[in-house]
């Protein structure tokens, strides 16, 4: 009896029709793709985007040029020089070169920074056209949003 059942099933293409039914159901079901430029999917709060330096409320840079991040970075992206202005208690970075092209977003620098001066930002648009755009100097490390995009690819972005 099973054999006849199997023959009938195969003759009337039951397995094919079942497949067609699945694709038809997906034809009418909700689509998953997000139309990117119009609608942007917000990254999660812990998202490891582009690392940025931060300042405290008074505008003083948090970074004390302790070079812990430089030591802990596996792909040595950092090149930091610190100097203590006379009368000041803490050192401040004078030179802070950071190469985005070498960064693997492993997060060691963020974990090891004593004053949490460097933190991940939700910025995921990292594309640039000029190689210099991928090298960040001290003041570039504070750029956010459009100014950051400006730096990354030097005005190549289509307006609007």
């Amino acid at each position: 009896m099973k054999r006849i059942g199997a023959f009938l099933k195969s003759f009337f293409l039951v397995d094919m029709v079942r497949g067609l039914a699945v694709t038809l159901r997906h034809y009418f079901s909700r689509k998953v793709t997000v139309p990117y430029p119009e609608k942007v999917q917000e990254p999660a709060p812990r998202f490891r985007g582009l690392p940025r330096l931060h300042r405290d409320e008074t505008g003083e840079p948090l970074c004390i040029a302790c070079k812990l991040c430089q030591k802990s970075c596996g792909t040595n992206c950092f090149d930091i020089e610190g100097r203590k202005a006379e009368g000041a208690k803490l050192m401040r970075p004078v030179k802070f070169d950071w190469k985005l092209e070498r960064c693997s977003f492993c997060g060691f620098c963020v974990e090891v920074c004593p004053t949490s001066a460097i933190r991940f930002s939700p910025e995921f648009r990292l594309t640039g056209v000029r190689r210099e755009g991928l090298l960040f100097h001290l003041d570039d490390m504070y750029l956010q949003g459009e100014a950051l995009q400006e730096h990354l690819c030097g005005g190549c972005r289509r307006q609007g």
């Binding site: 094919m16 497949g19 067609l20 034809y27 909700r30 689509k31 998953v32 793709t33 139309p35």
Partner: protein, 342 residues
């Protein structure tokens, strides 16, 4: 209706229409394919170029138009250039015999919605559609490289072996309608009040499977899908020549769908001609019904492509010689017997 208009203007107009009609259908088909497959897979598909991506095919065509047209140095230039035209011409030529709707009476003159009507229209259409096989062979051989040659030979074997079941099932229809004239077949279905597709479902299914195989589509797209290993016959082509092959394939699909509609689903007849209650549907012109049915079959083409995995070459040939041809024979005998007894 001056003779000039009747003898020159209208035929020229019809010829231009017959050439434009497949072109438009090809453009619609390209968009439909990319859109429907995308929607079936949970994605949006092209929706940037023009409204909902309608201009996407135009963008593709323009891109192909400006692409560099490379001809292999050792290629046989004559055959290399002819084969895309051959494939394209045979598909377009076959459209002349495809009746699109009831003849329209304008004053004394009756405008027939087809170019030519001949008592053996069915045979001619089948014959023309297999001429494109020459284009495939010449194209594959002329590009003088081993991948296209293997791809061409494979698709030729596939097309030829699937012509037998097509021929047989088409015979059953001609048998029932007692004529090979496409217009006559539709009229016969109208007078007998039932479509042949419902009368002979086996014929319809066998015809549809072999038609899909003949156009190298869906589960049988061996030569083209094998482009990973054995590139299809149009590997060496680029630019407009490749566009011809590409359009010819879609035109061939539209041709086959219209054949299915005419033979099995009563060309331009409104659904269920026999049922008197549905007569109010007659107000819609025949041409529209014809288009609706064709769109359904084109949709079915794409639907199958999105669903089924690909047959391996030997199982494909085994399928036709072991299953489809015997089935077509048995079906033909049954129809003949029924026809004789009645």
């Amino acid at each position: 209706m001056t003779p000039f208009v009747a003898d020159v203007l209208i035929p020229v107009g019809k010829i231009v229409a017959v050439i434009l009609y497949p072109m438009v259908m090809v453009v619609v088909m390209i968009w439909l394919e990319r859109r429907v497959v995308a929607l079936m897979q949970g994605r949006l598909g092209p929706n940037r170029v023009g409204f909902q991506g309608v201009l996407q095919p135009v963008a593709d065509a323009v891109k192909l138009f400006f692409k560099e047209d490379i001809i292999q140095r050792q290629a046989d230039r004559l055959l290399f250039n002819i084969s895309p035209l051959l494939v394209m011409a045979s598909s377009l030529l076959a459209f002349c015999f495809v009746p699109l709707g009831e003849p329209i009476r304008i004053g004394t003159y009756t405008l027939t919605l087809w170019i030519a009507e001949s008592p053996v229209g069915l045979l001619i259409v089948l014959g023309l559609s297999s001429i494109s096989v020459f284009g495939v062979i010449f194209g594959g051989w002329a590009s003088n490289s081993k991948y296209p040659l293997m791809g061409a030979l494979r698709s030729v074997v596939q097309v030829l072996s699937y012509e037998i079941p097509t021929g047989l099932t088409v015979l059953t229809v001609a048998f029932l309608a007692r004529s090979m004239d496409l217009v006559e077949i539709v009229r016969r279905q109208e007078s007998s009040g039932v479509w042949y597709g419902f009368l002979m479902p086996v014929s319809f299914i066998v015809f549809w499977i072999s038609a899909v195989a003949e156009t190298n589509r869906a589960p049988f797209d061996l030569p083209e899908a094998e482009s990973e290993l054995v590139a299809g016959y149009h590997t060496e082509y680029s630019g407009m020549k490749f566009a011809y092959f590409y359009m010819a394939e879609y035109a061939h699909m539209v041709l086959v769908s219209s054949l299915v509609v005419i033979l099995f689903f009563g060309g331009w007849l409104p659904p269920f001609p026999g049922v008197r209650a549905l007569d109010f549907l007659d107000v819609v012109p025949g041409f529209v019904w014809y288009l609706v049915k064709i769109m359904f079959f084109l949709y079915l083409y794409v639907w199958m492509r999105a669903t089924f995995p690909r047959y391996r070459f030997d199982s494909l040939i085994r399928l036709v010689w072991k299953w489809l041809i015997p089935l077509a024979f048995v079906n033909f005998l049954v129809v003949a017997l029924v026809r004789y007894l009645r």
